[in-house]
């Protein structure tokens, strides 16, 4: 028995999934002020008459960290940067309390400028004066050599022991200093509330005598154990859209096609792409408040248009959304919404069709339009907006840069096979959208709860990246921000680096209790460069990536 709970913007949905069936479904309005209570209310509804000992796993997808970051709340947090030479310093003013320090590395991890102890002391004094105890430390090229970050952290620990510091090289080791710095900042800022949430959840589940493992859904569509999640709050950002993509995949299990997943909720539609059975990732990482991060996430486009988007007239001109004023009229809402127009026009028999007609007429009348024509206006505009956004996603995907000859030569043309519709309002809109676009569509009786279902059956993911430089005698590996010396191992070969990466991933999987999924891990990147000076090879540079890709847990064998 699997439990999945997905916190959405409007509603929180939960399912109990057992033997290929959703046996229980629960729904509750989301209370942003008290997400853990909403989650527990849904959980308790699901648990009525259930034997808690039969639960195999609970997966939560929560908007807590997303909300914290989007509303920029949390304790006052400082960002200490060692940005060195290059772009002007003010490019990196990423947070209200940003401090700049000397100290600079190059891309091989060689020190250009050492940190200045005096200067560090001054900044620490300012932090104390301003009572800022949450601190993120980030250096340019700290992914290649974190020594300066560690030095500043050690000074802080000594001079300001009450402060808690996060270093960026532990959060991410990919290139891109501002994204790494900003991700570290968000981590430092959300850490406290996130850990309170985890404490609360663990306590609540204990009270309910649930002994099954509890996982959190990540932006990359995989899960991680709640305990692991303590140090990585940011990875849970945008797990809602990831849940819908995984839900779309779950409903079409083993039916590999190029699909677009549309999760049409009350106020928004989330669009994601599945290419040859694999969800498409955002090449730049998730974007928060306009700033890019190093959080691996699906490429999702959120359109402020959903089934409950209210229809209104302003100077006799029709406006659709973006706000929701309760449910659509056919479900007893006070105002006509998008779903009502589809309901009337295509005689869908959703809810109480008569209510749709009644409220729609109130709008058609002042526009002097027959009801059918008015509905056509609404549906046409809705479909156009959705199509435009789907097209834009494809365009962005096609424009993704590539840096190797084979990537350009072998890039294949993409043909969209179908639309997978999920979310409460999918039933009304998807069939018409698909016939307009002349492609197949897929709706399932579980479409309305596919998010929670996707969370329930998503498997854990884990990505390990290793960088090794035999000339500089340095390596770095993530997650965990491990760096060290290769001990002058100049003969290190690509196969060796791959083996170290594989072993690291296996060990980490065991430590996190994901052992069995490690065998599914695949190499996602293998790069090697000869370092040539004059005519001699002085060393080699390696970059290896390995990943347990998003997918489903072993127990899942499709939906009935």
């Amino acid at each position: 028995m699997l439990i999945g709970i997905d916190v959405g913007g409007t509603f929180t949905d939960g399912v109990v999934f057992d033997n290929g069936r959703v046996s229980v479904f629960a729904k509750e309005a989301t209370d942003d002020e008290n997400l853990s209570q909403t989650l527990l209310n849904v959980l308790d509804k699901l648990l009525i008459d259930q034997d808690v000992n039969k639960i195999d796993r609970v997966v939560l997808s929560t908007t807590l960290v997303t909300n914290l970051t989007v509303t920029d709340s949390g304790p006052r947090t400082a960002l200490i940067l060692m940005s060195g030479y290059g772009l002007p310093q003010d490019t990196y003013n990423l947070a209200p309390d940003t401090y700049f320090l000397k100290g600079c590395m190059d891309f091989r991890g060689n020190e250009i400028t050492p940190p200045d102890k005096e200067e560090i002391c001054q900044v620490i004094k300012q932090l104390k004066d301003n009572d800022i105890k949450r601190i993120a430390i980030a250096g340019k090229f700290s992914n290649r050599n974190q020594r300066h970050e560690l030095f500043v952290k050690a000074e802080l620990a000594e001079q300001f022991p009450e402060a808690e510091a996060v270093i960026s090289s532990r959060i991410a080791q990919q290139l891109n200093f501002p994204r790494r710095a900003f991700t570290a900042y968000l981590t430092a800022r959300t850490s406290e509330k996130w850990n309170n949430f985890i404490d609360h959840m663990q306590q609540a589940l204990k009270e309910r005598q649930i002994k099954a493992p509890i996982h959190i859904l990540k932006a990359d569509g995989g899960t991680m154990p709640l305990e692991t999640a303590r140090e990585n709050p940011c990875e849970t950002i945008f797990s809602g859209p990831a849940a819908s993509t995984m839900g779309g995949l779950a409903l079409t299990w083993k039916d590999v096609k190029n699909s677009v997943v549309l999760d049409i909720g009350g106020t928004t539609t989330d669009i994601s792409l599945i290419i040859a059975g694999q969800p498409l990732y955002a090449s730049q990482g998730a974007r928060i408040n306009g700033k890019l991060t190093h959080i691996k996430s699906f490429a999702v486009k959120s359109v402020p248009l959903g089934g409950d988007s209210v229809l209104r007239l302003e100077n006799d001109i029709l406006h659709i959304g973006p706000e929701r004023k309760g449910p659509a009229a056919c479900f007893g809402g006070e105002y006509a919404a998008v779903t009502d127009a589809f309901n009337y026009l295509y005689k869908l028999n959703i809810g109480e069709p008569v209510l749709s007609e009644e409220k729609l007429a109130l709008l058609a009348l002042p526009m002097n339009l027959p009801l059918t024509e008015f509905c056509q206006l609404v549906t046409k505009e809705t479909l156009t907006r959705l199509k435009t956004n789907i097209d834009a996603m494809f365009k962005e995907w096609e424009q993704e840069p590539a840096y190797r000859v084979w990537e350009i030569v072998n890039r294949q043309e993409f043909h969209l096979d179908r639309i997978i519709g999920i979310g409460a309002a999918a039933e009304a809109i998807i069939p018409k959208l698909a016939s307009d676009m002349q492609i197949d569509h897929m709706l399932h009786e579980y479409s309305p709860v596919a998010n929670a279902l996707g969370s329930a059956v998503a498997r854990p993911t884990l990505a390990v990246n290793m960088h090794a430089d035999t000339q500089a005698d340095l390596y770095s590996i993530e997650p965990g921000g491990i760096q060290g010396r290769l001990n002058k191992n100049k003969d290190l070969q690509l196969e060796d680096v791959k083996e170290i990466t594989r072993q690291y991933l296996l060990d980490l999987a065991v430590a996190r209790g994901l052992g069995s999924y490690a065998r599914e891990a695949q190499f996602t990147m293998e790069e090697q460069f000869n370092v040539i000076r004059g005519w001699d090879r002085l060393g080699k540079l390696y970059e290896v990536g390995m990943q347990i890709k998003p997918g489903f847990i072993d127990e899942f064998e499709g939906v009935d």
Binding site: L87, P88, K140, A402, W406, N530, D536, L541
Partner: protein, 448 residues
């Protein structure tokens, strides 16, 4: 409205090399990748990143006579590198960007109009392919190519030698001290395009001050007077003080200032082989200058302002004066050449392909037209590395030539078809955008 961004197309060809230890190898743009990605410059609103595409065979044939055909002279990497310049050209002309930088390899500025193989690490000329594309698609006539590579841009010079509408300016380390050995003061263009080729051979160890003097006192005034529709920077990075193949003293700050002043519409990467100590910083400098980002915080780890003193300013001043004068008097010289009254002017030359070790003999004939720059015919003969000897006859019709020249060139192609002395006869008809090639042995004509 917000200001338009700078277009950037980064194509490091991480899976292409001339040979494993060659300067033109996979590692060349690796640290540049590290630097520009780590800085996060691609995430800034001032930058828009573009994706490469493959150039088509006809794009290449518009600028070159590839012997025996385009496929024999280019790899996929070359097509991507050339195609990338076209992506940037389109983005600029369609108003998406204010300027653009094709940060791509392999390079091209040593490739001449006839290509038998690789010379100076180049098989095909990216700038010329782009210029002819811009002329064909967007009807642009006048362009300036400023070659800022440390080596003389002899390939580009060769292609535009007879074109009065393309100003080619190259400053470089003196040819007596560096490959390819050309680019002397007196190389000023063909008889009807005299003065629109300008060479500034600089003494070894010229610094920022020397190069910026040339820019301020020669390049900028000449551009002001020539009034090109577009300015292209053939942007080599080997004037840098750490370049292993050359001996100059230019810095990343110098490169940034140069691009700020020159303000090219499009820059295309050429040479530069100090892969670790120069390229990451020089490339950042060029991108920042083109995007209007303050570059005062940029420097190489071992650089201090005032590290190099200019020793050769007097020599440089002299060259600048001479070249400015020649440029300003070009109309008189062209009129004198035209008045000689012959039909064709003939030049004999030998071209050496250092990378592929090919020696090519050329007879080049230019029609001394009274209305336009004339069209040219190249008779070329070379033994390729596969031991095959090729004798080819190439007729090149410029994009902007008169009807007489066009007609005569087409007739010439027809007549040559019946003569069996050449293996291939080519007609590069840019007026009709049609590129014909006749294999006389197989009697097969190919039209691109």
């Amino acid at each position: 409205m917000a200001k338009k961004p700078t277009g950037l197309l980064f194509f490091p060809a991480f899976d292409w090399a001339i040979s494993p230890t060659h300067p033109e190898r996979e590692e060349r743009l690796l640290y540049t990748r590290d630097q520009i990605f780590e800085e996060g410059i691609m995430d800034l609103p001032q930058i828009k990143e573009y994706k490469p595409k493959l150039a088509e065979a006809r794009d290449i044939a518009r600028a070159h006579f590839c012997v025996p055909d385009v496929a024999a002279q280019v790899t996929e990497a070359h097509l991507i590198s050339a195609g990338s310049t076209l992506v940037i050209a389109d983005a600029l002309m369609q108003g998406e960007i204010k300027n653009g930088f094709a940060l791509v390899r392999p390079p091209g500025h040593h490739s001449m109009m006839v290509s038998h193989g690789n010379r100076g690490f180049c098989n095909i000329n990216n700038e010329a392919i782009m210029v002819e594309y811009l002329r064909q698609k967007y009807k642009i006539k006048r362009l300036a190519i400023v070659d800022t590579d440390v080596h003389h841009g002899d390939g580009t010079q060769n292609i535009y030698w007879h074109d009065p509408d393309v100003l080619f300016v190259s400053f470089h380390q003196d040819g007596r001290t560096l490959y390819p050995g050309t680019g002397h003061v007196d190389e000023r263009g063909g008889p009807l395009a005299y003065g629109t080729t300008i060479n500034i051979p600089l003494p070894p160890r010229t610094t920022d001050a020397g190069i910026l003097y040339v820019l301020d006192n020669l390049v900028m005034p000449v551009l002001d007077e020539f009034k090109p529709d577009l300015v292209i920077n053939s942007a080599g990075q080997d004037n840098h003080y750490t370049d292993p193949l050359a001996d100059m003293r230019f810095s990343a700050q110098g490169y940034a200032r140069l691009n700020e002043k020159l303000a090219p519409d499009i820059a295309v990467l050429e040479g530069g082989y100090s892969v670790e100590t120069a390229l990451p910083y020089v490339n950042m400098g060029i991108i920042m200058a083109m995007a209007g980002i303050d570059y005062s915080n940029l420097r190489e780890p071992d650089y201090e302002p005032g590290r190099f003193k200019e020793q050769n300013l007097e020599t440089i001043k002299k060259i600048v004066d001479i070249q400015l004068n020649a440029f300003r008097n070009r109309a008189d010289t062209i009129a004198k050449n035209r008045s000689r009254g012959q039909d064709f002017e003939t030049i004999y030359k030998n071209i050496f392909y250092d990378t592929d070790y090919i020696s090519e003999d050329q007879t080049e004939r230019l029609r001394l037209c009274s209305n336009c720059g004339g069209f040219r015919v190249i008779l070329s003969s070379a033994q390729h590395r596969n031991a095959k000897q090729y004798e080819v006859y190439c007729i090149s019709v410029p994009s902007y030539c008169c009807e007489d020249c066009h007609r005569e060139a087409m007739d010439m192609y027809k007549q040559m078809g019946s003569k069996g002395n050449y293996d291939f006869i080519y007609l590069q008809d840019r007026i009709n955008d049609q590129y014909k090639s006749l294999d006389t042995y197989k009697e097969v004509e190919t039209i691109l």
